[in-house]
Amino acid sequence: MTPDQTESVYEALARAIDRAAPEPPEQVLARLCLLLARALDDPAQVDKAIEAALRAPPGPDGGR
């Protein structure tokens, strides 16, 4: 994906979370992850992405 495409995805996700409100973001994001994993059709890639996501600094609630 080009940087512009990455940015468009980022924006589409932000808007999707707002459209799903008041449902909590993790619900819609979890469904999305499953859908994307199926579309990717590659369990090893999914495992790699999970590990990459966990490498990030702690999220809003697990921080301090």
Binding site: T6, E11, L13
Partner: protein, 540 residues
């Protein structure tokens, strides 16, 4: 605002001059008609006066105050603004005093997650950005015009009303010694965000106000950190908020911090609250030495602009025409480009070197630039101050990934630079399809190192043909109304950057934007382009 006990211009590092209104013999000619009256001697009004003077046009510059603007306000001066100052012969004091920078660092919850570099290299005469307090910007511009016989600066002279007429405008002016009317052929309204001229014409800014409010505070301290923009996202000192830290000359540091939704702006700007907030930011960045509070203010993110920048003989430039959010650092830079743009166009018109159509290109070019700033600023604003849960979640996700994933870091890059391209302007010619690369018409001309000096050092403040062929250069220079000519060496390195061959040429406008280019230039083609770009005939 300043700490209790200090007057508005009682600065820790800057001595404000006190300017008198016109006195004595100067008062006999106050009402003499002027080709151009400029309302407001902020940075934008002064740059307009300087540009007009370089084009041989007289102006009267009217300023309500008796000194420069208080506080350091706009501090980031972009490379393109330095090029404008350079072409007007005024850049030296700016270069000597300002702090150039290329790097930004972003921190998320105390951890550095990203370092970005703005485009720079050996072909660039100037750094991408310079930090300089607005008082100095105004002082250096004033020093450039104070002895300029074509500029008549009148301090403590407020415009109180205006009456537009077919061939000009009559301005009502009040100063401490009386009031008078000044007839002007043209008026440049550079009177800032609360423009009196705008109000007198019944015009309103249109657009949006954003939620994010920032306190901007300047402190004086000996603090050991290079000139690098620091952005602190969700720091311990302001959970959920964003803080920006910039170094300025004279040991002055700018701390911008976002106010939370529940924070009351009135209270947030009380001196004790500002002191406590600044102290907590300084603690977070590990500054435990003494510091002094210099000045502070509150600033909100707006994207507001006039629909049309020109109304008859009145042209709006700078903050009177548009208010842009702080993040893009475009408030001042955008205004300087306005002043320069209308300055050379009016300069040519009033010295009979252009037709009136040239003036019509001002609004589309500069309003287009403002709308581009708005688009970028809206993105930056959503990143710096996420307006909803969705933007918040995604912003935090991008910051969380930035440490390990370069592409996520790119989402956090403030993209503060790149001058606007006047792609659809009537004052730019269509590109020569023979070019596959290089800067296209409408874009700002790129700079080039020429071994010892730079291309930008050689560009005069007027139309310039940049070419390689000696015969072409001679033939063009011999034509009436010819542009200046800068001939470059037939050097493969230069050809690679400009996508040129030995017969190619670029026609650079006085504002350093490209007006036309040719793979195989001819003197006749250049003459026709000059004719078209200066609107010598209305029907082309």
């Amino acid at each position: 605002m300043r700490p209790a006990g200090r007057a508005e211009t009682d600065s820790l590092y800057f001595t404000y001059p006190a300017f008198d209104p016109p006195r004595g013999a100067a008062r006999h000619t106050l009402s003499e008609r002027t080709p151009v009256a400029i309302v407001g001697a902020g940075p934008v009004g002064m740059l307009a006066a300087l540009t007009l003077a370089r084009h041989g046009v007289r102006s009267v510059l009217l300023e309500a105050r008796g000194t420069f603007n208080d506080g350091s306000r706009a501090i980031c001066v972009a490379r393109q603004s330095f090029h404008i100052l350079q072409s007007l012969g005024a850049v030296a004091p700016f270069e000597a005093k300002a702090l150039g920078w290329t790097t930004g660092r972003s921190f998320y919850r105390g951890q550095q997650i990203l370092e970005f570099e703005m485009p720079d290299g050996p072909d660039e005469r100037f750094r991408p950005m310079y930090n300089l307090e607005q008082q100095y910007i105004e002082q250096f511009l004033w020093e450039a015009i104070r002895n300029e016989p074509l500029v008549d600066i009148r301090w403590q002279s407020a415009v109180t009303g205006l009456v537009p007429a077919e061939d000009g405008v009559a301005l009502d002016i009040a100063d401490p010694e009386g009031s008078y009317t000044l007839p002007a052929d043209w008026v440049l309204a550079a009177d800032g965000a609360r423009s009196a001229v705008r109000r007198a014409l019944g015009l309103r800014l249109q657009g949006e106000n954003y939620e994010g409010r920032y306190v901007i505070a300047d402190v004086k301290m000996a603090h050991d950190y290079p000139t690098i923009r620091r952005a602190l996202f969700d720091p311990a000192c302001r959970p959920g908020g964003t803080v920006l830290i910039h170094r300025q000359p004279d040991d002055i540091w700018r701390i911008d911090y976002q106010l939370g939704e529940d924070e009351d702006a009135e209270e947030a700007i009380r001196e004790d609250v500002v002191r406590a907030s600044v102290a907590s930011v300084l603690a977070e960045i590990g500054h435990d030495a003494p510091w002094e509070l210099e000045w502070w203010s509150v600033y909100s993110a707006n994207t507001l602009a006039l629909d049309e920048y020109r109304h008859g003989r009145v042209v709006f430039i700078g903050d009177s025409a548009h208010i842009v959010p702080i993040f893009g650092v475009r408030g001042l830079n955008n205004g300087l480009a306005d002043a320069h743009n209308i300055g050379w166009k009016l300069g040519r018109l009033l010295t009979d070197r252009a037709g009136p159509g040239l003036i019509d290109s001002y609004t589309p070019e500069r309003r287009g630039a403002t709308l581009d700033v708005f688009a970028n600023a809206s993105k930056s604003a959503r990143f710096m101050t996420p307006p909803t849960r969705g933007w918040q979640v995604m912003r935090d996700a991008a910051l969380g990934l930035a440490l390990t994933e370069g592409w996520a870091g790119a989402l956090a890059n403030p993209r503060q630079m790149t001058p606007f391209t006047y792609a659809d302007s009537p004052a730019v010619l269509a590109d020569d399809p023979g070019f596959a690369a290089g800067p296209a018409p409408g874009a700002a001309m790129i700079d080039l190192s020429l071994g010892g000096d730079f291309l930008s050092d050689r560009l005069p403040p007027d139309f310039t043909l940049v070419c390689f062929d000696a015969a072409l250069a001679e033939e063009v220079a011999a034509q009436p109304g010819a542009p200046a000519v800068v001939r470059l060496d037939d050097d493969p390195r230069i050809h690679a950057r400009l996508a040129t061959g030995a017969a190619s040429a670029y026609l650079v406008r006085p504002d350093l934007h490209i007006g036309a280019r040719w793979r195989h230039a001819t003197a006749a083609g250049v003459a026709a382009a000059m004719h078209a770009l200066t609107f010598r005939e209305e029907t082309r």
